[in-house]
Symmetry: C2
Subunit: 228 residues, 2 copies
Amino acid sequence: MITPSRGARPVSRQVLADHVYEEILESLMDGRLEPGSPVSIDGTARDLDVSPTPVREALARLEHTGLVVRVALKGYRVAPVFSRDDFANLMDARLVIEPVTTQLACRRMSPEVLSGLRQAIADLKEAPRGPSFAEFRDYLDADERFHRLIAENSGNPFMLAAYEALGGQVQRFRLFGGVGITDADHAIAEHQAVFRAIELGDPEAAAAAMTEHVGKVRQRAMQDAPQA
Amino acid sequence: MITPSRGARPVSRQVLADHVYEEILESLMDGRLEPGSPVSIDGTARDLDVSPTPVREALARLEHTGLVVRVALKGYRVAPVFSRDDFANLMDARLVIEPVTTQLACRRMSPEVLSGLRQAIADLKEAPRGPSFAEFRDYLDADERFHRLIAENSGNPFMLAAYEALGGQVQRFRLFGGVGITDADHAIAEHQAVFRAIELGDPEAAAAAMTEHVGKVRQRAMQDAPQA
DNA sequence: CCCCCGCAAATCCTATAGGATTTAAAAATG
DNA sequence: CATTTTTAAATCCTATAGGATTTGCGGGGG
């Protein structure tokens, strides 16, 4: 069930399909849609009180994020849950990509981006860390913002595309991993280490700090996550 | 103008949108559609003798390949030409990802995959290399198959996702507009070097060979590419 | 009790219609 | 002839209708 968000403002001219896209994306990230469950086109259209056409277009665009999977003539389903091994693989992939985006971004850093990163870390600190999604959603948002800001400023759109291919999955795993946020203090310190290296304009150190961070995240998750 | 392809066989149950997707993709790669020109939904529907609905869905899926760009309420246009810098960025990204997929795949190589790689190289050798897309499409297909086979057998689905996010081979034609494949002999030799290292089960050597290959492709393209 | 069949609802998919807006052409005016 | 205005066509977007198929369910037969 996808419920329309409250604060839907009637903007002048907007493409309904874009709105539907955001709505479904939010439902996926909120965990309102469980992994493996079907996402019916007609049903979603009824839920959001629109016609199936924009829903169809929104889902077509969502497919490439990997959050939903499509089977021809069968429809869409929420992507299946992650196993422990999947998470390890995801982190291994991030270990390949993110140090590079960090290094590249460090070389072309601007004051605006720097303050954006500083803000993201500040938001991380003050974000609540409760067990329910409503509570740690701000934390995940800030975390994602930090990493994305770096990827966006790598100056290489293809590295950004590679990052985006993984980005959405990171939050999802945390959401359904059931572990909540248990390592916030460590993670914040590691983010600050990355930030300091970037601030000093040392690309190698920044890349190393990012490697350290992602590696530690992987390690901690492997300890905390339920076995099997 | 997107003309329907000749050998359209009436398969039992097929999703029309999938067929439309392939049709538009082919038109894009053939150069029948020039960069920057609009791709009208209604117009394409008329050309292909279908309704706008499947065309809309196909274009939504095509957008993430970067071959077409969408502006809300304005429609789709063929993506602008690939600049030298764009190509350099693409190769830089591949230099990050592909050595890793190669190394991983080497560790878990199977006879089936090995023979698939051998076949891909064989196809590369006998593929024509003319200047029009219709001629060198087989070459690009074989090239793509080689690299994809490696990524698929890395054992890490997220590395595969990152590789796919680059859309490497699909993008290449955008640079070779009217030039064709000029470095086939070199490229084939480099592929063979990668293959031999994999065959010998030496992951580091395989990764190094892949780095060498992609780096050389980048270098040659920078020399051959038209204009500055 | 279990299995199978038939009907109804749901679903995917495509076509069509029409509203809102932009674009292009044609007509009218200076 | 140049410029502006008006009109027609094209385009994007959404809604609706209906065909083909699948899925769920309840009743009847073994």
